[in-house]
């Protein structure tokens, strides 16, 4: 078993040792245990980075156009908004606007979602906004094994890839290597097989969905939990196969309800699996409110195990 953040550092160390074109712009959170990036690399690979998210993102883009393989991290996902112009209006457009003359092989990283008292300005889940931007790939590693599988694929990809960690994953642990994880971007994973209802969950909420599946099991409901792992490309086939079996779908994601990740997945699956659905698709999402500070309020807005269990049961009524 390995810690998520320790695995992230070890994975990046391995990637950077294998390819000297890879540089890191911005500062990754340091793990409590295991080797850190800064133990292995100096300022030639870990570029000194001021609080200038917009310039850091732009610099990563330019470095990629000139032949490096930059990874830029914004730390907390909310800080990606400072770089938004480069993230959504520069990086995803250069290959397209140039008529295919260039590639933009960059990885943009941040750790998002509710974190416990992060309040409205440090708890964002920007994946739905990013998904509304053609030209980006989006990966959401939920476990150390997924970190091991998705990061090398993201760095090797010729396109801008956003890797979003759920901030609460940094305290979690899991097996580091798993044969079934050695897949390209765009391949999801059945995290728990089941027959009665399909639960599609991402990032931190994969773990909440698995806990919910355990509770449902005690109620006599056999839930299948699927982690698509990437939103772009989305493994629709894996979800459709599961829904063909269960006839019921709950989509669980931390973006806000309106125009969220769940809305898009529900729309796609609802269209293609209309004849197979036995109940309306349920969305479990953050409420349409900012993420509040108080420990009494945050769980009201942000979804958890209870919300998933209740949604699954509604599909079975």
């Amino acid at each position: 078993m390995a810690n998520y953040l320790s695995t992230l550092h070890q994975t990046l160390i391995d990637i950077m040792q294998a390819d000297e074109r890879v540089v890191v712009i911005g500062n990754f959170d340091a793990p409590a245990e295991g080797p850190r990036l800064s133990d292995v690399f100096g300022s030639d690979r870990l570029l000194p980075s001021p609080v200038s998210e917009l310039a850091l993102a732009g610099a990563a883009l330019g470095a990629a156009l000139a032949g490096l393989r930059p990874i830029v991290t914004f730390g907390i996902s909310s800080f990606m908004f400072n770089a938004w112009e480069q993230v959504v209006n520069e990086a995803p457009h250069f290959r397209y606007m140039s008529g295919g003359q260039v590639v933009v092989p960059i990885v943009m990283h941040c750790a998002g979602g509710a974190r416990g008292a992060g309040g409205a300005q440090h708890s964002h889940s920007p994946q739905a906004m990013l998904w509304n931007t053609p030209g980006l790939r989006i990966a959401l590693p939920a476990t150390p094994a997924d970190v091991r599988a998705l990061w090398p694929a993201a760095v090797a990809d010729a396109n801008p890839v956003v890797v979003l960690d759920g901030r609460r994953l940094y305290g979690t642990s899991g097996p580091q290597s798993d044969e079934s994880c050695q897949l390209p971007l765009g391949r999801g994973r059945v995290r728990r097989p089941g027959q009665d209802v399909t639960i599609v969950a991402t990032s931190w909420l994969v773990h909440e969905a698995l806990a919910a599946a355990d509770e449902l099991n005690q109620l006599g409901v056999d839930a299948e939990v699927i982690d698509p792992r990437t939103l772009v490309p989305l493994d629709e086939e894996l979800i459709l196969d599961s829904v063909a079996k269960t006839g019921r779908l709950v989509v669980v994601d931390e973006t806000h309800l309106s125009c969220g990740v769940g809305a898009e997945i529900a729309a796609r699956i609802g269209y293609h699996a209309f004849g197979q659905l036995k109940a309306p698709i349920e969305r479990v999402a953050s409420a349409d409110a900012p993420i509040p500070f108080s420990p009494a309020l945050e769980p009201e807005v942000v979804p958890g195990v209870r919300d998933v269990v209740e949604a699954a049961i509604r599909t079975l009524r």
């Binding site: 001021p50 330019g62 470095a63 490096l68 480069q86 606007m97 140039s98 396109n159």
Partner: protein
């Protein structure tokens, strides 16, 4: 300079006539800088241009036909019609991107400069920007980052509102000395008269050579005259404003464009060459006729070229 000028005067005509889709910002009055840029750079140096990039591309050797075709949105354009005037680029010419967002090219140039210092040492990146970019956070953040990284980047700030410094400029930045805004950062700063080709070439060459040798980033403000054919997004090209190289040696009428003709870098350089006996007026007239013919051929090429197929809208989205 003559090639840039006559190409773009035709662009203005086509734009006014409604033949171009969208907006076509021109570089008229700034040609000395575009030419100097092309001459100061080597293969392998990278230019990050803006929505006003025709001059940077032509300076690096762009051909009229694919450039004109791109402005028409045709498949024979440099970017197969995906770019238009705002975003036209040519990776093969060392202009890998053109951002139409003010200030956005600057951080990309810093990152490219850093990359070049690693993988192609002795090469530089150039951030093309206008005077108003310094009102944008991206441009100022880029200057700080470049100074911290000692990146071999040249911030080429073309102030096309410098002369005459008028009301529209004053409403944008609370200073008319752009170099002064940048001076406190740890980088070399310069200022040059954009109507004087030899001065621009000297200053830009010095900046490029300095960055190339590893003494850090440079900022150069090129101060040029605001071309009177443009007023906001609107163009006009009355006959009296149209360039005729003969006005370099023949008297021009005293009119509202007299001051512009004094500052015009093209006429100024032509006068300087004639005065020095380095070229004669017949050669210049032939040159003008030849360029006009080449522009006409490019327009015909672009008009006759096909548009992209609708399915091409989904090409080049992902590699």
């Amino acid at each position: 300079m003559l090639r840039m000028r006559l190409f773009e005067e035709r662009c203005v005509e086509l734009s006014v006539a409604g033949e171009f889709p969208g907006i076509t910002p021109v570089y008229i009055g700034q040609e000395a800088t575009g030419v100097a840029l092309g001459m100061a750079l080597r293969a392998g140096d990278l230019v990050f241009t803006t929505h006003r990039g025709h001059g940077h591309l032509l300076g690096r050797g762009a051909q009229f036909k694919p450039l004109m075709a791109e402005l028409f949105g045709k498949v024979t354009g440099y970017c197969q019609g995906k770019a238009g005037s705002f975003h036209v680029s040519s990776a093969a010419l060392g202009v890998p991107s053109a951002s139409a967002i003010v200030g956005a090219s600057a951080p990309a140039a810093v990152g490219a400069a850093l990359a070049l210092s690693r993988i192609n040492p002795g090469h530089v990146a150039v951030a093309c920007q206008g005077d108003r970019s310094l009102g944008e956070g991206a441009a100022m953040e880029a200057i700080n980052l470049a100074a911290l990284w000692r990146a071999p980047v040249i911030f080429l700030c073309e102030n096309n509102d410098a002369v005459p410094y008028d009301v529209r400029s004053k409403s944008q930045l609370a200073t008319d000395r752009l170099a002064g805004l940048v001076q406190p950062y740890d980088l070399m700063v310069g200022e040059v008269d954009g109507s004087d080709f030899e001065a621009v070439f000297g200053a830009l060459g010095e900046a490029v050579d300095g960055a190339r040798l590893g003494d850090g980033p440079r900022f150069l403000e090129v101060r040029t005259y605001g071309w009177p054919g443009q007023s906001g997004p609107r163009y006009r090209l009355p006959p009296a404003l149209r360039t005729d190289i003969r006005t370099a040696w023949q008297p021009a009428p005293a009119d509202e464009f007299s001051e512009w003709r004094e500052y015009d870098p093209l006429l100024r350089f032509a006068r300087r060459l004639i005065g020095g006996g380095e070229i004669d007026t017949d050669e210049l007239e032939d040159m003008q006729a030849n360029v006009l013919r080449e522009v006409q051929e490019a327009v015909e090429f672009a008009r006759e070229s096909p548009y992209p197929e609708p399915a091409a809208a989904y090409d080049h989205l992902y590699a």
